[in-house]
Amino acid sequence: MEYFLQQLINGITLGSIYGLIAIGYTMVYGIIGMINFAHGDVFMVGAFIALVLIIGLGLTASAGLGLLILALILVLVVAMVLTSMWGWTIERLAYRPLRGSFRLAPLITAIGMSIVLQNFVQIVQGARVKPLQPIVTGGYTLIDDGGFVVQLSNIQILIIATTTILMIGFTLLISRTSLGRAQRACEQDRKMAALLGVNVDRTISLTFVIGASLAAVAGLMYLLYYGVIDFFIGFVAGVKAFTAAVLGGIGSLPGAMLGGLLLGLIETFWSGYFSIEYKDVAAFSILAIVLIFLPSGLLGRPEVEKV
């Protein structure tokens, strides 16, 4: 039971990170119907920007609590801004010229961009794995009855709390603001939205900006949680997050979060109880099984094709 609880906590933490990345996929897919393959690498770029900032600020675990929180918020905001500029630039250079072109063209440029980002970071930051000393340390012991000790670390609290706050803020952004309305309108019918005065290009750009900034948050969280990053983390994380988005029903925001959490839990429990080597196989198999029985994901709207 204790072991189960510990795996649950770990799974939710991992799932939060997947969920944050998955939102970027699901929003872009919802609005322009393309798989943004470079998104996983935008997440990786975000993690590297955060790493550079943390080292630049000389942030260590020995800083005082107040200072640490302030500095982390600063790193978070700056990383979000810089990473979203990457997202914006990629959209502008590689996807916008192909808008309205045939469907596979942006997919290929996205794969190309993903290769470009990986190799760019490998060249400028080196191929070696970057280990970072733990910055957020400590935690609470939830259950200690002589057997298995269940712990909730501060970093896990930080990740889950940040994700929850961002999800609430983000849901409000989509449901209440004019940007959110424009976004939902474009999702339903881009041409009609344009006729009604929505600046479609700007809305799509903003979608990429939001997706990239959430990916930057995920990047920072990943960096703080695992403490090691390299230029290749984007691929695996990207595939997993996309799986999460599809699992939850692509185009659906709560679906992305739910899918992320489920995927995190599946992976953690599989590693905890069965074999760690085959955790990716488990995640992908669940995806295939879900899609066979629910072809539009858990919360996705079934695609109705009009003839």
């Binding site: 080292i55 810089l82 440029t109 080196g126 599809v246 085959y278």
Partner: protein, 437 residues
């Protein structure tokens, strides 16, 4: 685009903004490099590189603005007029296929007698290009003809390679016995993996096929007893000339045919094997396109609902497309195994699938000759830029993006209809459906 009165000032401002964005993009990542030392991480500064990159962005953007974007007479238009149009291809296009075929048949002899010191390199490179041409043609059946987006094609390549490697190293079977078996097994796997995804469409199909590709790789990586795990399989037998080994000994190829022994014999032989395999792929594809099943593939790509209402069995149609594409992938895989003599899961990563898909799409979906052109441009170009070392993959990715932006329909975007009444007319790729899975 109309020329504004102060287009130079506008261009300058625009380039300035681009440069500012470049500062934000490159500043932290290029300017500050994280170095790993024993004492932890520290930053080294490289602001000179940032300045160079920003300057390149500024000048490049300014030049583009002045010459292309913000002028009445863009250079690209006059360039396009000067160059022969690839879209039309015209008479040149009709000759391109036979010309390439002729060249590929005589290439080894041309090289061996024309430039013997270069021949080894050129023929090796041609073998690589032909392998990708074959893979591209195989994937073209699935993506280009049937319109099913497959991101896990490398799985079948892996199945073919491991089938040959395991059969040859365990039972000592010859390449020519294993080749059909590898194709057959890959085709079975194509059906096995195709079956669950029958109901999926478009991007769902893409992600599930990607997942299958990864599953196959992970299993190969972790099943030590069977596949050797990350160590792969060593000492895979080389192919023989129908039983005659390419060896120095008495009963070797050179001795039997009365030639002087040369290591080139095997390479030239491998070249012709892959050329023949690739041509078989192309031939079978063009023939099958005219069979009912081939027409059903193309109908499926254009409109699945219409297909179903006309009584086409979409299940069988999709499965045959998957199986046939996979079969050629399997052939190519066993060729790869016998050529390398060593295989490991590292050769079958997602990036391979992406490269093959890129060749198909960059060439122009459904176009046979386009695949050849794209494979030569991408794989040949990749090898030519060998000196760039770590920048090579970066250039490769950039080329993918640029070619796609430049020609979204692929390098060869005309289609010749499979069947026609009276007259066969090539049509632009824009008029062909791209399939929704």
């Amino acid at each position: 685009m109309a020329k504004s009165p102060n287009s130079f000032a506008a261009s300058l401002t625009d380039a300035g903004i681009a440069a500012l964005i470049a500062v934000a993009l490159f500043g932290p990542l290029v300017g500050l490099k994280t170095e790993v030392t024993t004492g932890g991480l520290f930053l080294s500064q490289r602001w000179g590189d940032v300045a160079v990159m920003v300057a390149v962005v500024f000048v490049g953007r300014l030049a583009l603005n002045l010459l292309v974007f913000k002028t009445d007479r863009p250079v690209t238009r006059s360039l396009a007029a000067a160059l022969p149009s690839l879209t039309g291809l015209g008479r040149f296009g009709a000759l391109l296929g036979p010309a390439l075929l002729g060249l590929s048949v005589v290439l080894p002899f041309l090289m061996m007698y024309g430039a013997p010191d270069q021949s080894r390199y050129v023929i090796d490179l041609s073998i690589l290009v032909l392998t990708y041409v074959m893979l591209g043609w195989g994937l073209n059946i699935v993506v280009g003809l049937a319109g099913l987006l497959d991101l896990g094609y490398v799985a079948f390549y892996a199945v073919g390679a491991y089938t040959y490697a395991l059969l040859a190293t365990t039972f000592g079977w010859s390449f020519w016995v294993c080749l059909p078996l590898a194709g057959l097994l890959a085709a079975c796997w194509g059906m096995v993996l195709g079956f669950p995804v029958l109901r999926l469409r478009g991007d769902y199909l893409a992600i599930v096929t990607l997942a299958f590709g990864e599953i196959v790789r992970i299993v190969l990586l972790n099943w030590y007893d069977f596949t050797g795990g990350p160590n792969g399989i060593n000492n895979i037998p080389r192919p023989s000339f129908f039983g005659i080994e390419f060896s120095r000994g008495e009963d070797g190829f050179a001795a039997i045919f009365g030639l002087e022994y040369s290591a080139m014999h095997r390479i030239v032989f491998l070249y012709y094997v892959i050329l023949a395999l690739a041509l078989v792929t192309a031939f079978v594809t063009t023939r099958v396109r005219r069979l009912p099943v081939g027409r059903a593939w193309e109908a499926l790509r254009e409109d699945e609902i219409a297909c179903r209402s006309l009584g086409i069995n979409t299940t069988n149609t999709k499965l045959t497309a998957f199986a046939m594409g996979a079969m050629f992938g399997g052939f190519a895989g066993s060729f790869f195994a016998t050529r390398q003599g060593f295989i490991s899961p590292e050769s079958f990563t997602f990036i391979e699938s992406a490269v093959i898909l890129a060749i198909v799409v960059l060439g122009g979906l459904g176009s046979q000759i386009g695949v050849v052109v794209a494979a030569i441009v991408m794989i040949g170009g990749f090898e030519v830029f060998r000196d760039l070392e770590e920048f090579r993959m970066l250039v490769f990715g950039l080329a993918m993006v640029l070619i796609m932006v430049w020609r979204p329909r692929g390098l060869v975007s005309t289609r010749v209809p499979s069947i026609a009444l009276k007259e066969r007319k090539a049509i632009g790729g824009e008029l062909v459906g791209e399939g929704h899975g």
